[in-house]
Symmetry: C2
Subunit: 394 residues, 2 copies
């Protein structure tokens, strides 16, 4: 259950999804809220992202309207018009300015939005708004997700207790950078725009941008934060003493959402943290971690619970980062399996295999050439992943 | 059946593979042959590659000894010693200089070579040599390959008919650049070293470096060419009139081997040529083609025979290449499915789906911003791919 003072939600079925499941949601703040966003880096941007990039510039929003089942991407001029009129319909229904509404979509690419269905849905969304129904929005944004995703945190700011909550979606197409991921973060804490923007950017970089399911990135990725200030705290400033606390709470929230997304990765049975240390720089560590975390041979070996460390080292070797293979150490959990590029012994390998039977474990590669350290969180690639994605639309 | 004048082969089982299948092979030329090679770009290089890189420098070789079932990679100093002594044993058996023997390995990473088995195998390899048994070498280098791979071509050079043949292996870990791929090209045509080197480099760039199965590259990739000059032709020179003909024949051979490898890609049911045209440069076209050809979402859609063109365009959008998504056209075979970024119509999509039922088809993306053009050859990602790779060692 999630609740944030001053925020209302509603999620219903309007008929975009064939199975009658919830497919459209609305989030509204009682007051215009300070707003920042991070969007997909894909050159191909869905229509709501193109519009959203414009709307976020003013730093103020009051409502998010979001549908699943249709990405409204690669839909040309018509797509742009459809996303704008969706926002317009919601603004009218709420009697607020159009520029305060941001639209968002996720689902199949290339199919125009069914505007008649959306038009009929808007009045129902508006009349159904309730502070108890943000959870329904989390349901309404699911695509191949197998459960609704949300997280919530209390944080003490200047003697008052604020709330930061987030609803998210994402199960496939997850990869640095960002994933087919939507994440809407809502808070009653007052924070100045520059501080909000910076905190969101850093939180996204350290959470959503570190998770991998299949190496694809989407046309629709969006992370938004809305702060409505209902808490009545003294506005947090970038150079103020509460900023750090806010940032850490936000980071906790996005980390939680990120890990839930990997756990629910399409067909995934395991969550694996791939840590690279001893690189010359953090950037090089990250490069190596990403190649390992994206390697199909590595991810299928995770699925098979096979401590095939050779695949991990071979993947590291094609990351475009120089290192001495005769020096590297490799760990499953805390267990060293490779020392100076050579296997420690078959007994350790058997122990490693039993570590891999856990639903969560870590793999650490030590390049032993510096202090650079980074990580990604990835999943295994399974038979079900292929089944889900071979027949997603049919 | 492959035969090349002046080349002998032998392939037997020495017990590296548990199932008693052929796992070690020997190729010998009647005379020392001009030799060039292209090796893996992976930082992590198998022991035989490290030694091979040294041996190839002199440009002259007489024998190739190759085993499957064990990559002799990530095996430290011992691996280097083992590969050197394998070559030494063969040199002794053949009574030729050690420096004329190049070793090669493919298989599991991280396990030391079983030298006792190899020692016992060498006399059998030497005594079994025959001009009819190159095919047995093709069998002896198979790992997850489901059939032996070879190609052969006759080419007229200065009134004589020369032969270029190749044996290869590779079924997984195939990706630009190069693949877990071994390819040994044998010819009786005399060609100067500079010309041989250049022709091999170009042939590899346009064939093996364009094929993708899973995006991983191996520690052991090796393409070698040996020209023994037995044909007695006037030696082909880089600036001579026969060079072009030789190069084209070589390119034909490597293209054939490359396509056979994709066809036999682990679990693959389809071979798809991904063509990108209208890019600003050839390099940008290639970048986009590679991202599309490696995308798991695209490759699973190929498997599902789902003309999910949105995934193809979304993959293109994350290649780091700028283009206008509102301008692109996309074709399945010759059928245009997307025009100026928007679907042409559901009828074409149904036709596209039937094109995808073929075991071979092409996908063409036209970015419409220049003359740059490139391609990759990829396969579908299937349930069987995951099954094969989850349990490869166990």
């Amino acid at each position: 259950m999630i609740k944030v003072p001053g925020f209302l939600g509603c999620g219903i079925s309007c008929g975009i999804k064939k199975d009658g499941e919830k497919d459209i949601g609305l989030i509204v703040s009682s007051h215009p809220a300070g707003a920042s966003g991070v969007f997909t880096t894909n050159v191909v941007k869905a229509a709501p992202v193109i519009l959203g990039l414009k709307r976020i510039k003013r730093g103020i929003l009051q409502a998010i309207v979001v549908n699943s089942g249709n990405a409204n991407a690669c839909t040309g001029k018509r797509g742009i018009e459809d996303t704008a009129s969706t926002a317009r319909l919601v603004a009218k229904g709420l009697k607020i300015k159009e520029s305060l509404v941001i639209p968002s979509s996720t689902g199949v690419i290339g199919v125009p939005l069914p505007m008649e269905k959306i038009k009929r849905a808007v009045p129902r969304l508006v009349s159904g708004l309730s502070e108890d129904k943000l959870i329904d929005v989390a349901e309404a944004i699911m695509t191949t997700d197998s459960f609704p995703k949300y997280a919530s945190q209390k944080v003490k700011i200047g003697g008052r207790t604020g709330t930061i909550s987030a609803l998210g979606k994402g199960a496939g197409m997850i990869a640095p950078n960002m994933a087919t991921m939507l994440c809407f973060i809502l808070t009653d804490i007052s924070i100045e725009l520059a501080a909000q923007k910076r905190a969101l950017r850093e939180a996204v970089d350290n959470s959503f941008n570190k998770i991998i399911v299949d190496g694809d990135t989407s046309t629709n990725d969006t992370a938004l934060i809305l702060s409505n200030g209902v808490l009545g705290n003294e506005t947090i400033r970038l150079d103020g003493r509460d900023y750090k606390r806010f940032k850490e709470a936000l980071f906790d929230i996005t980390t939680q959402i990120g890990e839930i997304v990997v756990k629910d990765g399409e067909g995934a049975t395991k969550v694996v943290r791939v840590i690279v240390k001893g690189a010359r720089t953090e950037k090089e560590a990250e490069k190596v971690a990403r190649v390992i975390g994206t390697s199909l041979l590595v991810k299928t070996a995770f699925y098979g619970e096979d401590p095939n460390w050779g695949r991990i080292i071979a993947a590291a070797g094609r990351a475009g980062v120089g290192f001495n293979p005769m020096k590297v150490d490799l760990f499953f959990g805390n267990l060293r399996v490779v020392k100076n590029g050579v296997e420690v012994g078959m007994r350790n390998e058997k122990k490693a295999s039993s570590i891999m039977k856990n639903s969560e474990f870590s793999v650490t590669l030590d390049l032993k050439q510096g202090e650079g350290r980074s990580f990604v969180v990835t999943s295994d690639t399974t038979v079900d992943y292929v089944k889900i994605n071979a027949h997603y639309r049919t």
